[in-house]
């Protein structure tokens, strides 16, 4: 099955071809209950423990649509500048699969809840407006676990188990319009779009948008056409690309692969493709000819959804500040450069810095600690920044202790380490470990005198007026006090003695 794929280098591919991309993003909504029944939406529970006759599709059971899920979908649509349908229906998508309890999925077909919107993104200096084709609501399927065999896939497995806990969890699908004209930036645009969408969804509090847990899943469409051809090529649909980095890699790979096929005089097949995280490559899935006829028709078990204009207006009025606006506001408030802001976003540190500032720290200090010492620690331990066992309030307190002179940067780093190690609040740690800066003259005088006696030639230079040489004596004092001395005060004392 695995055939060697020859690739054209990315630069060469882009020299001859223009890519068009498109993204379909599935978002599991964070509603308390499932889409069509009262079962809880839980992740990681005992298999088949959050199920009932409705989400198991038992004979005779009927769906009742969740108002919360419809509300969340409308809010997503509004945040994406979409039109909200005044009347629309669910549809049945019919196909047989063991993890789909009814052997049809309740979805939306030609009457989506939200249509025709946009989302602005930025890649470096370039701003791109991504058109949104539609946002619709559907139910998730169960999950199959294939046991035995080498691949974890259904082929070659000894047997399969199905967990229906996920079946019926509300799922929103956000579909972009085709995105042409981004050239070599196409992979980055794809990534930036998913990043921006994820932040938007998080700001709306409609999903926990964890790609690694599958609550946000992407299908990436890619096509290329000879530069200047004025038409678009045949697209492939790479399914289930489940990290931001993979979104970028998948587009890049498909551009290179398709360029190689076209260069060799071949044709691109309209097909689905699987993305492989380990190799960063895609392999062929179903072709258009094998595509199922889903026999969509309006779901007769559900009444049409007809959100009133008043309700939609209320939801629009209640929208929170959206990420782009928030970033603009914070950047102005904090006086940070574009580069600093990008660094904060990439590190997922915006919320943390904002909360640290709210707890009393300056923006510069908050940024410095989160992107410096704490980012380094997160990196070392392989955790997300937000998952570190240190709170914005604690970081703010540490910066306060530095500002007031109780701690210097070196001590502050130690205190943060000890907070992460679980030793308690900053003030407790400073007290328990005796980490405060020593600025008490009586304690410092001995160390200063020792430094002067220990370095007579330096002392002589200072007496001659070369005060810049005092740094060396301060260093000696710091060394003697194991960093706890107040360096400024030590310097003052040294100069006093030698004047």
């Amino acid at each position: 099955m695995t055939r060697a794929v020859t690739l054209v280098s990315y630069d060469e591919a882009l020299a001859r071809y223009e890519p068009v991309i498109g993204l379909e993003t599935h978002v599991e909504l964070g509603t308390v209950t499932k889409m069509f029944c009262g079962c809880p939406t839980v992740f990681g529970a005992q298999p088949n423990s959050a199920v009932c006759p409705v989400c198991l599709g038992l004979p005779g059971s009927l769906p009742v649509a969740s108002r919360a899920a419809i509300e969340y979908t409308i809010r997503i649509g509004l945040a994406l500048n979409c039109s909200i349908a005044s009347w629309c229906r669910f549809a049945r998508k019919n196909y047989f699969y063991p993890d789909m309890p009814k052997d049809f999925q309740i979805s939306q077909y030609d009457e989506p809840l939200c249509t025709d919107g946009w989302l602005d993104i930025a890649v470096g200096e370039q701003r791109v407006r991504i058109g949104i084709e539609r946002v619709h609501l559907e139910e998730d399927t169960g999950k199959s676990l294939h046991v035995g065999g080498a691949t974890g896939r259904i082929h070659g497995a000894d047997y399969s188990l199905v967990d229906y806990n996920r079946a019926g969890i509300p799922l929103v699908e956000v579909v972009t319009k085709p995105i042409p004209g981004t050239g070599a930036l196409a992979p980055e645009v794809a990534r930036a779009y998913v990043t921006e969408l994820r932040e938007l969804l998080r700001a709306l509090s409609v999903s926990d948008v964890r790609m690694e847990e599958g609550s946000l899943r992407c299908d990436v469409n890619t096509s290329i056409a000879p530069a200047g051809a004025g038409s678009w090529g045949t697209r492939t649909e790479t399914k289930n690309v489940n990290s931001l980095r993979s979104v970028e890699r998948a587009v890049r790979f498909e551009i290179q692969r398709q360029a190689a096929v076209l260069d060799a005089g071949g044709k691109i097949m309209q097909e689905t493709r699987h993305f492989h995280e380990d190799t960063g490559t895609t392999t062929a899935g179903r072709s258009k000819e094998e595509a199922q006829d889903y026999r969509y028709f309006p779901e007769p078990d559900l009444v049409p959804v007809a959100p009133s204009p008043q309700w939609v207006a209320q939801l629009r009025a209640d929208l929170p500040e959206l990420p782009a606006a928030r970033r603009g506001r914070l950047q102005a408030d904090w006086g940070l450069s574009d580069l600093d802001m990008t660094a904060l976003r990439n590190a997922d540190a915006l919320d943390l810095v904002e909360q640290t500032v709210a707890a009393g720290a300056s923006a510069a200090d908050a940024r410095k600690w989160w992107l410096g010492e704490l980012a380094r620690r997160a990196n070392e331990t392989g955790t997300e920044l937000a998952a570190l066992p240190v709170t914005p309030a604690q970081v703010a307190r540490v910066t306060e202790l530095v500002t007031s002179g109780t701690l210097n940067d070196k001590l502050a780093r130690q205190v943060l380490d000890l907070i992460v190690a679980g030793e308690g609040e900053p003030d407790e740690i400073v007290a328990a470990r005796g980490l405060a800066v020593v600025s008490d003259d009586s304690a410092l005088t001995a160390a200063v005198d020792a430094a002067i006696t220990g370095h007579p030639e330096i002392a002589a230079k200072i007496r001659e007026g070369k005060t810049t040489a005092a740094g060396a004596l301060v260093g000696a004092v710091m060394k003697a006090t194991r960093g706890q001395a107040d360096a400024t005060r030590a310097r003052e004392l040294i100069l006093q003695r030698l004047s």
Binding site: P59, G60, S61, D293, R295, D301, L302, V303
Partner: protein
């Protein structure tokens, strides 16, 4: 209990049983035991039941007796036995929908109808036979063999709720629940000489009703008289938050209407398109007399044309199969019911195919294939889409008609009960049994069948169909109760009082069957 007493109890109406139980004249246990005895005596011939839950029924009856002893108030149907179509889920009985594919399945939940009946103190005797997944007009499509018409065991009791109709007709139960998708309550009621009602779509909950065609399926009552049907209608009706298509509106006052039994001044429309060629002469004769009777009772008779009714049958045979092709997909051997070929060497797909091949009968397969085709890409607009347009036109025909008249009437079925086997190999002939009943299903309005005599040529019952606008269910009962009362005055008793075979009142033995119902006009 003496045999005479037992016989007497099975001849009572539901209203009489409830009154006697409430008054303490008879215990619910006694009534239930009498009906279980009757089932034991006749059901080997009628074959109305797929499952009889004797112990559970007696326990339920005992609970009613205990409540009465404790002085608790009893509802209007407490202690009344009922035969439940095997399409409603029951936690204490198997539920097969007449199909092998669900053999052995024990539902973990009760249908809303089941729950409401239990709460009303109705005693569930068991589950009745039906055409597989309610697809048919004779019960011959049941995987478990046909039920027999108590008037003539060689004939069908109609379908798909044929088991329910036969059980009520043979006095195995005073009440039964059926479901109507294309006529599945009214047609068996008509050919068995009893009352059957299809409430307004959404008036009775579908939760726990195994779906055939979601936009059409409607649970409704079967009984030996109009008032009993109304009592059951009221007991099962009302909004159900578990069914999105359930109507959130007050239940029409059907019991009051059945007691009112008055048609004076009512405008009654005779549908031109439902009669004439292809109808059995005796059916048309009895129908004509029923219309005259209504006129004599003070109703104003108008002829009304509903031009699109001609297309109702073909439209129905696209919409219902389309929905069923999707509704029946879930029977895939993965979670419940039959599983064929799971020997460890076959894939899930193969097991699904083998199970569905073995588990579904030919009529179900025919409709799944029809529906799959009608919904297919490239054919959707021409078939499913067009059928929905026809459905809209039929609704408009009804709307226009109901601007002129209060109710519409027609024969319920073109013919009386046909012989078992007669139409089994001719689906088109079988489908014609629902010619008159389908329009109301497509429009989702209310319709009822009430006996209007016997066809002279075969001595078998003929049904009068009454149709009313959505949520105008009470009008059906006004008309039917008036017709019933007038006919019983002429006949000197109910139609079944003159029945032959096992439809004859218990204890009467073989009646002559040559009573007044053979000719009501004289």
């Amino acid at each position: 209990m003496s045999t005479a007493r037992s016989t007497e109890l099975t001849g009572l109406t539901a209203a009489q049983v409830a009154a006697a139980v409430a008054a303490g004249e008879v215990s619910a246990v006694e009534v239930t035991a009498a009906h279980l005895d009757r089932i034991a005596a006749v059901d080997s011939q009628v074959r109305a039941f797929l499952h009889v839950a004797a112990d559970e029924a007696l326990a339920a009856a005992r609970a009613v007796d205990d409540r009465r002893a404790a002085g608790e108030p009893l509802g209007p149907l407490a202690g009344v036995p009922l035969a439940l179509k095997d399409v409603f889920t029951t936690t204490d009985m198997p539920t097969t929908a007449g199909s092998r594919i669900l053999e052995g399945w024990r539902p973990p939940y009760d249908a809303t109808i089941t729950r409401r009946l239990r709460r009303a103190g109705v005693v569930l005797l068991g589950k009745t036979n039906m055409d597989e997944f309610a697809m048919g007009s004779s019960t011959e499509n049941s995987a478990f063999g046909p039920s027999h018409n108590p008037w003539d065991l060689a004939r069908v009791p109609g379908g798909s709720s044929g088991g329910s109709a036969a059980a009520v007709t043979a006095c195995e139960a005073p009440l039964a629940m059926g479901t109507d998708t294309g006529g599945s309550i009214r047609q068996p009621a008509a050919v068995c000489g009893i009352v059957g009602v299809k409430p307004t779509y959404g008036g009775s909950s579908r939760y726990g009703l195994i779906a055939f065609a979601s936009s059409l399926d409607t649970p409704g009552p079967l009984a030996r008289n109009v008032l009993d049907a109304a009592l059951l209608h009221e007991a099962i009706s009302g909004h159900d938050p578990r069914d999105s298509t359930s109507v959130d509106a007050p239940v029409p006052p059907v019991v009051a209407a059945a007691r009112q039994a008055d048609v004076a001044g009512l405008r009654v429309g005779v549908v031109t398109e439902l009669g004439g060629e292809g109808y059995q002469p005796g059916v048309l004769a009895r129908f004509g007399e029923a219309v005259e009777l209504l006129e004599s009772l003070g109703a104003k008779i108008v002829e009304v044309s509903c031009p699109h009714f001609t297309y109702a049958l073909p439209a129905y045979y696209l919409i219902a199969p389309s929905e069923c092709s999707s509704n029946l997909a879930r029977f895939d051997a993965m979670r419940y019911g039959l599983r064929v070929g799971d020997d460890g060497s076959l894939s899930a797909d193969e097991v699904m195919s083998l199970t569905r091949a073995a588990g579904f009968g030919p009529e179900v397969k025919r409709r799944i294939i029809l529906g799959t085709y009608a919904l297919s890409s490239g054919y959707y607009d021409a078939y499913y889409g067009k059928a929905q347009q026809v459905r809209t036109l039929i609704c408009r025909d009804f709307d226009a008609a109901f601007e002129q008249v209060d109710v519409l009437v027609s024969p319920t079925t073109p013919t009386t009960a046909f012989a078992i086997g007669e139409r089994a190999d001719d689906p088109m002939a079988m489908y014609l049994a629902d010619l008159c009943t389908i329009p109301s299903d497509l429009a989702g309005n209310a319709a009822l069948s009430v006996p209007c005599g016997l066809a002279p040529e075969d001595g078998l019952p003929v049904g009068l169909q009454v149709m009313a606008p959505a949520l105008g269910d009470d009008r059906l009962y006004r008309v039917a109760a008036a017709v019933e009362a007038a006919l019983e005055r002429r006949w000197g008793g109910p139609l079944l009082g003159q029945a032959k075979g096992l439809a004859a009142p218990p204890g009467r033995g073989e009646a002559s069957g040559t009573g007044e119902a053979g000719g009501i006009g004289r």
